[in-house]
């Protein structure tokens, strides 16, 4: 087909090759992202801010120098109920210290049911919707419940996929950071 195309032929070929390689590159980038998996220990936690259900705003300044536990949950998520009471108990242990913060981020949920869930389990630490699932994606989370513990320097030191099985599991992850 290229016979009569002599002068324009190489442009066409270059374009065709460019297109093929460009598409391969996009798939490669996306493949790398999907292979990365959930954020892991040692990585710097992404900066994020959110507004709680009662309208209080939280941003990076509020997390500075604190041990922060970020818990992704949803009211439709049955396994989340397994850890709800333990998380609240743990929060009550640290609440007074001032250098530990628990944050609940409500993933793809409806507000009425979410509030009912918080009420049911008597949860008092700051909870708010993860608008646009932005924070969920920044942590590269893969489902709920998933929990990340961030140290005073803003590094992730503990990752829990699925619900905590016991209160000790939570306190251990946090105490480790407080002793230092």
């Amino acid at each position: 087909m290229a016979a009569e195309k002599k002068n324009t032929g190489w442009v066409g070929r270059l374009l065709a090759w460019g297109l093929v390689i460009g598409l391969l590159a996009v798939v490669a980038v996306q493949l790398r992202a999907s292979q990365q998996g959930v954020m892991s220990r040692g990585e710097a936690a992404p900066a994020f801010s959110f507004t709680t259900f009662d309208g209080v705003e939280y941003g990076p300044a509020d997390f500075q120098g604190k041990v922060v536990l970020v818990n992704f949950w949803a009211s439709w998520c049955e396994p989340c109920e397994l850890e709800a009471a333990d998380l609240q108990t743990a929060w009550e242990l640290y609440e007074g210290r001032g250098d530990v913060l628990f944050i609940g981020l409500d993933y793809v949920d409806t507000q009425a049911e979410a509030l009912a869930y918080l009420e049911e389990w008597g949860i008092t630490y700051p909870n708010g919707p993860d608008l646009g699932t932005d924070i969920y994606r920044a942590f590269r989370a893969r489902g709920v419940p998933e929990t990340f513990v961030i140290n005073q320097m803003g590094e992730i030191t503990f990752v829990k996929i699925g619900p905590f099985i016991s209160l000790e599991e939570i306190t251990q992850a946090i105490d480790l950071l407080l002793e230092n």
């Binding site: 070929r13 093929v20 996306q30 493949l31 992202a33």
Partner: protein, 699 residues
């Protein structure tokens, strides 16, 4: 024990792949025939070895050998035997093995043909087949091994591994997880094998095309050798798609047959290029045109097959069909990139020698219309490919937004969804164009057609089809899309019938009766008339699709016992609901509803919800009353626990949907007529009686 034997066979098959590929490449030079013969034997040996490997996995599945990680993850004690056998392709590792086994079966079958006239192709066909097969076997052995066993380490953790680690003891779960309930459907037993058959059989034409490119043989020999293969590959792929649609209609519970899910599209894309290729190779056979194009199409088809397999298995996409995320994604990617770039390089290198032998003369000639047909198919492919890949681009583009915050508005990195509406709108006009071509192209002549000759051939069916259109208008149909679609369907049906009629009349004029004339006509030119029957099948499918797309209605409501819901001429009354446990670990909630049409009782239907305890998944199984003209389809959405005094139902009225399945049957019949191997024997007989000179030329 038997399992170890199977694993051993798998390892040997893999080694044979490496050896065979190397021996074939080395034996390609003249005078190294023993090496070539040895490579061929290696190829042939992979089949019994992989058969042994597959059988040993089936044996493990059937005998509940739960120490095998794969067996524990896809079966459970409560599953019936036939499902345990089909669990071979119910999970990642097993289905890869099944894929490889089919691949070796096809490649071995190719080895058994008479190669004396095409000796120069043989090494490269072996090489391409064995490299493809070897790639899959490497994935199986090193990453997704169905022979991996469960072990319990010193610390008590359970993990999977092929070999027993030091200090670990075998771990045998009491029961397995069971097969994904979505896959426990008769449609699912044959849908994946058909799809895989279609996939692997497209490897063969690709192997021949690459052989032609490497050897520099620029005639259409590779097409003549593979056209029947291509037809079979196409048949299996089409069957896989049709069965998949049927399965979606019966099991997924959305009232539809095709959801434009990325994984469905991944299987559909090689079908599009394959279909384009089936049409355009005819031009090369008749007229010596489009050699580059055919090569490109077959390369695309092969890589789209691998790409489809990659999309489902790499975790790049998530979907109802997707396997769990796994480590094999990058390997698939490298394989696709390598084969694609290498094939395109080869094509580029041979570009000049593949120049056209003939010219195109008329816009209305058959070859020109086929070219337009190809344009439309590739257009649909572009829509599909773009719809699947674009969300990846937007997400990947988030990186640009991070580097240049001022551009974040454009490169937000937001994930997006591309739903059915996009595909329907974008491909609709292209499908309509294809229907129109189906009506015109069969009546246009090769080489030279003018408006006058074409008009003379076409005016009768065209006039009648206009009458059909008028009839539909008088009947009160006003939807433009439906009118256009149904008119085109009528036109193509008439043209096709007219073609049969012309052929029959010509034979009848020589004194045959009409039935004999029809039979002889089809026997004499099976590809042509099989092709027409395929066209009829496609039109019937199109009628079904138009029926659903334009006339499907739905309604949903909560009913107390004795209340009813109405749609079209139908009324459905809620009678009762009962709940029970089955001995294969399901909780079944089944409603009984009575269906009336125009006030007359028709029958009871039983929409239900099955909850699988093992996998904690629920399946919504519709109740369907199906007739030629329409389906009444009811889903049980929700119900009040315990009392069951109220329940919510969703009902669909889908006119003409059954024509999709009827058309599918016609399609398959036509394809069988076109592809049945007997005609090859007929060719061979002709060839044997041909003079020596002609034979040399043909070779």
């Amino acid at each position: 024990m038997i399992v170890n034997l199977g694993f051993g066979a798998l390892l040997i098959a893999f080694i044979l792949c490496i050896y065979g590929a190397a021996a074939a490449a080395y034996g390609a030079r003249d005078g190294r025939d023993p090496w070539l013969a040895s490579a061929r034997s290696a190829m042939l040996l992979t089949f019994p070895l992989l058969t042994l490997a597959a059988l040993s996995i089936i044996y493990a599945l059937v005998t509940f050998d739960f120490q095998l990680d794969y067996v524990a993850s896809v079966t459970s004690r409560s599953m019936p035997t036939y499902l345990r056998v089909t669990a071979l392709w119910g999970g990642q590792a097993g289905s890869l093995l099944f894929w490889a086994w089919l691949m070796s079966a096809f490649a071995s079958a190719v080895m058994l043909r008479d190669w004396r006239r095409d000796r120069e192709f043989l090494p490269w066909v072996i090489l391409v087949s064995l490299v493809t097969l070897g790639f899959f076997l490497a994935l199986i052995i090193f990453f997704e091994n169905p022979f991996a066993r469960l072990w319990q380490g010193v610390t008590g953790t359970v993990f999977a591994g092929v070999w027993q680690p030091a200090g670990a003891i075998p771990y045998i779960p009491i029961d397995g997880n069971g097969l994904n309930p979505l896959l426990r459907h008769p449609g699912m037993i044959i849908h994946p094998p058909m799809l895989y058959l279609g996939f692997v059989s497209f490897v063969i034409p690709f192997a021949f095309a690459i052989a032609a490119l490497i050897t520099g043989r620029s005639d259409d020999r590779w097409i003549r050798l593979t056209r029947r293969w291509t037809l079979w590959a196409w048949l299996f792929l089409s069957l896989g798609l049709i069965l998949g649609s049927r399965w979606a209609y019966d099991v997924i519970g959305w009232g539809g047959y095709w959801g434009w899910d990325p994984v469905e599209i991944a299987a559909f894309m090689p079908w599009l290029t394959g279909t384009a290729c089936l049409h355009s190779v005819m031009i090369q056979e008749k007229r010596g045109l489009f050699k580059h194009w055919n090569m490109l199409l077959i390369i695309l088809t092969y890589d789209l097959v691998i790409f489809g397999t990659f999309l489902t298995r790499s975790g790049v996409l998530s979907s109802v069909h997707a396997f769990a995320q796994s480590a094999i994604g990058p390997l698939f990617f490298v394989f696709i990139a390598a084969t694609l770039l290498l094939s395109l390089y080869l094509l580029n290198r041979r570009w000049e020698s593949l120049k056209a032998e003939g010219e195109m003369t008329s816009w209305l000639s058959r070859e020109a219309l086929f070219l337009v047909n190809n344009l439309l198919f590739i257009g649909i492919l572009v829509v599909c490919f773009w719809g699947v890949v674009f969300p990846l681009i937007t997400e990947a583009s988030g990186a640009i937004g991070e580097w240049f915050p001022s551009l974040r508005g454009i490169f937000s990195g937001q994930r997006i969804t591309v739903g059915p509406l996009f595909y329907e709108r974008a491909t609709g006009p292209l499908w309509a164009g294809l229907l129109l071509l189906m009506g015109i192209a069969p009546l246009s002549a090769w080489r030279a057609s003018t408006a006058r000759t074409l008009g003379r051939a076409i005016w009768k069916p065209f006039a009648i089809s206009l009458l059909v259109l008028a009839g539909m208008l008088i009947g009160g149909l006003r939807s433009f899309g439906a009118l256009l679609g149904l008119w085109l369907c009528a036109f193509v049906l008439l043209v096709t019938a007219y073609e049969f009629w012309r052929g029959m009349r010509a034979r009848a004029a020589r004194g045959e009766n009409y039935f004999a004339a029809l039979a002889n006509l089809m026997a004499r030119n099976r590809r042509r008339y099989g092709g027409y029957i395929i066209h009829i099948g496609v039109i019937l499918i199109a009628i079904g699709i138009i029926g659903v797309e334009f006339f499907q209605t739905e309604t949903q409501g909560q009913l107390a016992i004795g209340e009813s819901l109405e749609i079209a001429d139908y009324r459905m009354e809620y009678e009762s609901l009962s709940e029970w446990n089955t001995n294969d670990n399901r909780l079944v909630d089944r409603a009984v509803v009575s269906v009336y049409k125009d006030g007359v009782f028709l029958r009871e239907l039983y929409p239900r919800r099955d909850y699988y305890y093992e996998s904690q998944q629920a399946m919504t199984i519709p109740g369907v009353r199906s007739t030629i003209e329409e389906d009444f389809y009811v889903l049980l959405v929700e119900w009040e626990e315990i009392s069951a005094s109220r329940a919510t139902f969703k009902i669909y009225h889908s006119p003409l949907i059954n024509w999709i399945w009827i058309g599918g049957l016609v399609f398959v019949v036509g394809n069988l007529i076109a592809a049945w191997p007997q005609a090859e024997a007929y060719d061979a007989r002709l060839r044997r009686t041909a003079p020596a000179g002609a034979r040399a030329e043909a070779g």
